[in-house]
């Protein structure tokens, strides 16, 4: 990962038998009340997708951007279950133990794309320790599950079904990872100058493929178990010109959270890259307590 330029320390530890890696940056002097922003990337991305946020927010907050299971230096495994939202959440909690051994500092999970699933899952585990959740052009598992009956969403999400097929996605990722990554970025409207540095495209195309298989397998479980609705503020940011995800709806999110704010913005699927100045400002405001209903 030498050619991935992010102004943060790349750390690694064993998380329940598999190596997990993350970027970490923040002020030197932190207290028990200094928030930890946990930035969960999507697919096909790595933790470097958060480079703008890390740079902008590290002066005031501890910023942690894990490489989700299979991406970058986070160890791959054939066991699909290790890519499930539950498993990723447990791995992320192991990282948090390293970042904050006291276990007391407030956490704000932020997720983009499939990372929104992981951010939400983490918030559900953290409950009152999560001071807010931010979803950027991403959905929770329950939202996605309920949208399976929406032709408009299914039309955008065709690739999820392709990724359930065994072997073929891996073959494509091994032989054509760079063109596929360029295709995904182009389809998502991301201009080349805002593309994150990922090093070898296989780092973000091949390793994390099983996330989609695990996520689909998890849908029945997510629907049959419901934790208490989150009471912390939820901010859903959405670049309106998104080729992959329909806009979030209040009724969807209010099934799972009491305090929801949705901001539909001009922008594309990678709005946190393409329009990072605005997104960083909104994130900082949210973390400072400016969240709430519009």
């Amino acid at each position: 990962m030498d050619d991935v330029q992010v102004d943060a320390e790349l750390k690694q530890r064993d998380a329940r038998g598999l190596a997990s890696a993350w970027f970490e940056a923040g002020p030197v002097d932190t207290t028990e009340t200094t928030p930890i922003l946990v930035l969960m990337h999507g697919f096909p991305d790595g933790a470097s997708a958060w480079s703008y946020q890390i740079e902008a927010l590290k002066e005031r907050y501890t910023v942690v951007a894990p490489y989700v299971r299979g991406a970058g230096p986070s160890e791959r495994t054939k066991a699909v279950r290790r890519y499930s939202p539950d498993a990723v959440a447990l791995d992320t909690l192991e990282i948090l133990k390293e970042v904050d051994p006291t276990g007391k500092r407030p956490v704000v999970p932020v997720g983009h794309d499939l990372g929104a699933v992981h951010a939400w899952h983490l918030a559900e585990l953290l409950q009152d320790r999560a001071k807010g959740v931010v979803l950027i052009n991403g959905l929770t598992v329950s939202q996605m599950a309920r949208r399976l009956v929406s032709p408009a969403q299914l039309k955008k999400s065709w690739y999820i079904f392709l990724l359930q097929v065994p072997v073929l996605p891996e073959l494509l990722a091994k032989t054509a990872s760079s063109p596929l990554l360029r295709f995904a970025h182009a389809r998502g409207g991301l201009s080349p100058e805002f593309e994150p540095e990922v090093g070898d495209a296989k780092n973000v195309m091949l390793g994390p493929l099983n996330q989609y298989r695990a996520f689909v397998r998890d849908i029945p479980k997510a629907l049959r178990r419901s934790a208490k609705r989150l009471t912390c503020p939820v901010l859903a940011l959405y670049g309106a010109d998104d080729a992959f995800v329909l806009a979030p709806r209040r009724d969807e999110l209010e099934r799972e959270a009491e305090n929801v704010t949705i901001r539909i913005l001009p922008g594309n699927h990678w709005i946190h890259r393409q329009d990072h100045v605005k997104i960083n400002k909104l994130l900082a405001e949210f973390v400072e307590g400016a969240g709430g209903k519009p």
């Binding site: 447990l90 559900e124 009152d128 320790r129 178990r225 419901s226 934790a227």
Partner: protein, 279 residues
């Protein structure tokens, strides 16, 4: 019915039928006991880890799913039974009317409430069964109940060692002690009112069918060995030699508390597989 169950518990000694479950009534070699200990240690690690994560707002199902996930992530492919998690007054089975009500529910945990985690993974073929009780914050009544459970744990090996020991007598002794301490007998509310059940090394760890939280190995091991010789309840009169998952479960006013772990019973002697308690 009780007479039938008493007779059936002695299946290993009945003429012609001993072959069904005789293999259960023996103590495995040391190396084999190490396999059970390894399995139990993993299960202990799992319940302690998940218990440490539980926060107000978690549902029983959420905790149970995470416990199963933790074990699966550590190589467990099959379960004697998957995780049961109970919160609050469900820890004494309040509101439980059918077997399905025992299953982890959407019930959410509140501060101060008691939590029971109970899971039985199969690790390298070795079955274990662990029960662990905590509270979400301080709970003085639970602390007292756990102290009583610790006393029962200390007393149990001697009960099995007694020359006159029968499973039924042990069950009744435990029942008398916990009632004298002011508790209700909650393991009497388990299917077949079991205080414990045998554990075995299984031949196949294939995941297979999971029916109402129990894996196919559980059904096979019990049914193939004559069922009632496997279940320790008030009617048990069979040979006690072998490995048992013992699970006394006491009930306070609005909560229950239990522990569960493996007891090794030999002719005239008994000891916990792990001398260190997880209570």
């Amino acid at each position: 019915m009780n007479r039938v169950m008493s007779l059936a518990s002695k299946v290993s000694s009945l003429p012609g039928l001993g072959v069904i479950s005789r293999s259960a009534a023996r103590v495995p070699r040391t190396e084999t006991l190490d396999g059970y200990l390894h399995a139990q240690n993993l299960a202990r690690q799992a319940v302690k880890e998940i218990a440490s994560l539980i926060r107000e707002g978690w549902s029983e199902r959420q905790a149970a799913d995470l416990l199963d996930t933790y074990l699966a992530d550590h190589g467990v492919r099959s379960f004697f039974h998957r995780s049961f998690v109970w919160f609050g007054d469900r820890t004494r089975f309040k509101g439980v009317k059918t077997y399905f009500d025992y299953l982890p529910s959407k019930r959410v945990v509140r501060p101060g409430e008691v939590v029971i985690l109970d899971v039985a993974p199969i690790v390298n073929g070795y079955t274990c069964d662990i029960g662990y009780t905590i509270s979400l914050g301080e709970n003085a009544e639970l602390a007292k109940a756990k102290a009583h459970l610790a006393e029962l744990r200390d007393a149990l090996p001697a009960m099995f060692e007694a020359a006159s020991a029968t499973g039924g007598a042990v069950w009744k002794d435990i029942d008398t002690r916990l009632r004298a301490a002011g508790y209700d007998n909650i393991h009497a509310l388990y299917p077949f009112s079991v205080l414990g059940h045998r554990v075995h090394k299984v031949k196949s760890q294939a995941a297979g069918v999971n029916l109402i939280n129990f894996g196919w190995q559980a059904y096979w091991e019990f049914l193939s060995r004559g069922v009632f010789g496997q279940l320790l309840n008030g009617d048990f009169e069979g040979d006690l030699t072998g490995l048992w998952a013992i699970e006394p479960h006491v009930g306070g006013v609005d909560f229950g508390a239990k522990f569960e772990e493996i007891l090794v019973v030999m002719p005239g002697a008994a000891r916990w597989l792990d001398a260190e308690a997880l209570i």
